[in-house]
């Protein structure tokens, strides 16, 4: 479970990038985080994962404050950043072993998980190659495998579908559903509204640092005047602000 309580962050004095954000992502839920470019999505994700410190408020991961009990809170997070170009000089298997060591995944579980995840994403045969030779999509896949290796309770994914082929994208969505069904929590940001609609139990829309909507897609449609397309709904909500 992720609790975001009254969190604010500003990079420049007097201009809040995230303004008094309150959110609760329950266990067993897939939560989609939407918003135009520069709305504060990545800033929020960075604060949840401990990359950025919030100026005000607190964030709890399964009840643990990310600022005060960072190490134990981070153990329960599997994070996929928006750019997958990470440690490209390492071989795929070296990267996964490294992630396994950092998150202290026992060898037998590690073996099963690596095989399971990389075969699902069809990169098992490429594990002995340096990641710099991977395509963008393959890099995205290996980073996802690394993040999910320790089977963390809370998945936080920043634009996870970018660069994935249709099959990998489908598989990832399936994995997200399964993970949530097992009583875990999935929080992800996306620009693709259709993905959010089909996958998410709830969505949150952020614009200019403020959370302007939280609820299901049905709530969103009901709140607005006419039953337009998803894009129209989105534009209407973000333009009203």
């Amino acid at each position: 479970m992720i609790n975001i309580n009254n969190v604010s962050k500003s990079y420049v004095k007097g201009k809040k990038s995230v303004d008094a954000l309150n959110l609760e992502i329950k266990d067993g839920e897939i939560f989609g985080f939407l918003g135009p470019n520069g709305a504060g999505k990545t800033t929020t994700i960075k604060m949840i994962t401990g990359i950025l410190n919030s100026d005000e408020g607190n964030i709890l991961i399964d009840g643990k404050d990310i600022k005060k009990e960072g190490i134990s809170a981070k153990k329960n997070i599997g994070f996929v950043p928006d750019t997958p170009d990470i440690f490209l000089k390492l071989k795929g298997i070296e990267y996964l072993n490294f992630m396994g060591d950092i998150y202290e995944v026992p060898t037998d579980i590690r073996k099963t998980r690596i095989e399971e995840l990389t075969k699902k994403f069809e990169i098992f045969d490429n594990l002995n190659e340096e990641m710099q030779s991977y395509s963008h999509g393959m890099r995205q896949k290996i980073v996802i495998c690394g993040a999910l290796l320790s089977n963390p309770k809370n998945w936080i994914l920043d634009e996870p579908m970018t660069g994935l082929d249709p099959k990998a994208s489908f598989d990832l969505k399936e994995m997200m559903r399964k993970h949530a069904k097992e009583g875990n929590c999935v929080f992800f940001s996306t620009h693709v509204l259709e993905v959010a609609e089909k996958l998410c139990d709830r969505v949150g829309i952020i614009n200019k640092g403020k959370l302007i909507f939280v609820g299901t897609f049905e709530d969103m449609k009901a709140k607005l005047k006419d039953n337009g397309s998803l894009e129209e709904l989105f534009l209407e909500i973000t333009q009203d602000e």
Binding site: I71, E94, F98, K111, F124, N128, E129, E130
Partner: protein, 547 residues
């Protein structure tokens, strides 16, 4: 120079020069400029001071002109060695070629722009290393305005040919890269081969005019003959010396003429040679590996795994390895190797023994210890692992923030390669000390332990420098190590360290060297303890800039 070349040069330079963290608006720009101005002035001051000492000594035997000769030869060699490393990076390793090649640019426009980047870097180096010696010479010989004007002109033209020599050597080596399977390893070896080739060339050139003792005496008695001897080696040295020493504009024109001819010839040949090697270089590391087996999936402790990753990232990235590790390991081998070879080849067995006895009786004294420590300090100031520990990760540095490992521990893991390679440098120096002075094992052990303690402190402090101003937004690895002002700090810190060692040593120089060693040891353990405590307490704050 056409507009395209100028704008491409500008872009390449901007791309590689340090961009400060946008979020860091608290410290004023003036403060930053002032800080670096102090650093630069400090370094210039040291070179000025050294030049002053050398020129006044030479003036006593009316050989001050020799200073300019030695200075220019040193500058040429330094430029060649530095350019070999820069050229491999700027011409062959930087990612920008992938974006530049599809643009409607002529090959020679790209070539000239890239040469310009190297030239600008060398001008920055000249600012640090050349301004003070020339000014010191001018003042001490009460030279007129013409001297300064001509010197400035010479310094502008002078580095071009050494750069072209370095570029040519690397181009020849890289043109063989097409057929090589492991490109990364080849990239790592190329600059090494280049430096060896440059050294072999300069030795074979100097071999013909080897200086014996007799010649040396003659040389000192005959005015200017030393300068003549040096000038044989490079066609530009003689006109450059004459231009500066005699403020002779005609000689400068000669230098300009030679440079222009070689430059044009180079552009004509370089065009073909460069693109043959560079295009072959674009596709790297695409070889297909074997499938993994269960043995490949293995467990390690967090610390071991983290440190192993740090070593792999250094070894597997040729730019980082060549720039951050190699100088401090290679320099002692080159310098000390040359020294040993020259002693043993020019002297009889007996005189070597005598030499060893003299040094041996002196080495196990406080001053002897201080000198050995200073040599290692100087050499490890070229070790750039710690001051780039964070910056080398670039945008991946945020990884440090979201994994469940404390920042303090990560800093320690990141520092270990620096301490390991610094210790290798220290062992090379110790080996050298053993060969020339054969001191007791206790002495050698003392040096090793002291070096280790100094290295640990140096590593933590340099990591703090990097944390204070990390350079995370880069598109080419070259930018992290080449145009990074943070890398002035190891020099400053180690010079300061040498100062401290001597301040402690001189008043106690009558005592046993072990007492000095103990004082240095205790002093550094105390400082390290407090610095470490500071890092541990402030780890969250120190990592603020990484986001």
């Amino acid at each position: 120079m056409n507009k395209k070349i100028i704008s491409l040069t500008k872009v390449l330079l901007k791309n590689s020069f340090q961009r400060y963290n946008e979020n860091n608006k608290k410290t004023s720009k003036i403060g930053k400029i002032l800080l670096y101005a102090v650093l630069v002035v400090y370094l210039i001051g040291i070179f000025g001071f050294l030049s002053y000492g050398l020129i006044t000594t030479l003036q006593q035997v009316q050989q001050e002109a020799m200073f300019i000769g030695v200075f220019l030869l040193g500058l040429a060699l330094l430029t060649i060695i530095q350019s070999i490393i820069s050229v491999t990076n700027v011409f062959y390793f930087s990612k920008d070629l992938e974006y530049i090649l599809p643009l409607p640019l002529k090959p020679n426009e790209i070539l000239i722009s890239k040469l310009n980047v190297i030239l600008v870097t060398e001008y920055v180096m000249e600012l640090l290393f050349a301004v003070a010696p020339i000014t010191a010479y001018g003042i001490l010989t009460s030279a007129g305005v013409m001297f300064y004007i001509i010197s400035l002109l010479v310094l502008i033209i002078f580095p071009i040919i050494p750069i072209l020599i370095a570029t040519f050597i690397i181009m020849i080596i890289m043109s063989f890269s097409k057929g090589v399977k492991n490109k990364d390893r080849f990239r790592l070896i190329a600059p090494l081969l280049g430096i060896i080739l440059a050294l072999v060339l300069s030795f074979s050139l100097s071999g013909t005019s080897e200086i014996t003792d007799e010649e040396l005496i003659n040389a000192i008695t005959q005015a200017n003959s030393m300068v003549e001897m040096i000038s044989d080696k490079l066609p530009i040295i003689k006109p450059a010396i004459n231009a500066i020493v005699n403020s002779d504009f005609i000689e400068f024109l000669k230098l300009l003429g030679i440079t222009a001819i070689i430059y044009i010839a180079f552009i004509l040949i370089g065009n073909k040679l460069y693109f043959r090697g560079a295009v072959g270089n674009l596709s790297s590391g695409s070889k297909k590996g074997k499938n993994i087996t269960t043995k490949d999936i293995r467990n390690s402790s967090v610390g071991k795994s983290y440190v192993a990753k740090e070593f792999k990232m250094l070894f597997k990235n040729p730019i980082f390895f060549v720039q951050c590790v190699l100088p401090s390991v290679l320099m002692p081998v080159v310098f000390l190797g040359i020294f040993i070879v020259s002693i043993s080849s020019n002297n009889s067995q007996e005189s070597i023994k005598q030499f060893q006895n003299v040094i041996g009786s002196f080495i196990e004294t406080p001053i002897g210890l201080a000198i050995v420590l200073s040599i290692t300090e100087f050499l490890t100031s070229m070790l750039y692992i710690a001051p780039t520990a964070i910056s080398r990760d670039g945008q991946n540095a945020i990884f440090m923030k979201y994994i469940p490992v404390s920042y303090y521990k990560q800093l320690i893991y990141k520092g270990i390669p620096s301490v390991v390679f610094g210790t290798i440098t220290s062992i090379i120096v110790i080996g050298f000390v053993y060969v020339i002075a054969a001191p007791s094992v206790l002495f050698l052990l003392t040096v090793l332990i002291l070096n280790l303690v100094l290295l640990i402190l140096q590593t933590i402090l340099m990591e703090l420098v990097d944390l204070k101003k990390p350079k995370l937004e880069w598109s080419t690895e070259y930018a992290v190590v080449k145009q990074n002002l943070n890398l002035l700090w190891p020099f400053v810190l180690n010079l300061l360290e040498i100062g401290i060692i001597f301040i402690v040593t001189i008043p106690l120089s009558f005592a046993n060297y072990l007492i000095i060693a103990l004082v240095i040891l205790v002093l550094h353990i105390i400082i390290t303890y407090f610095v470490n405590k500071y890092v541990y307490k402030n780890q969250d704050k120190l990592f603020d800039k990484i986001n």
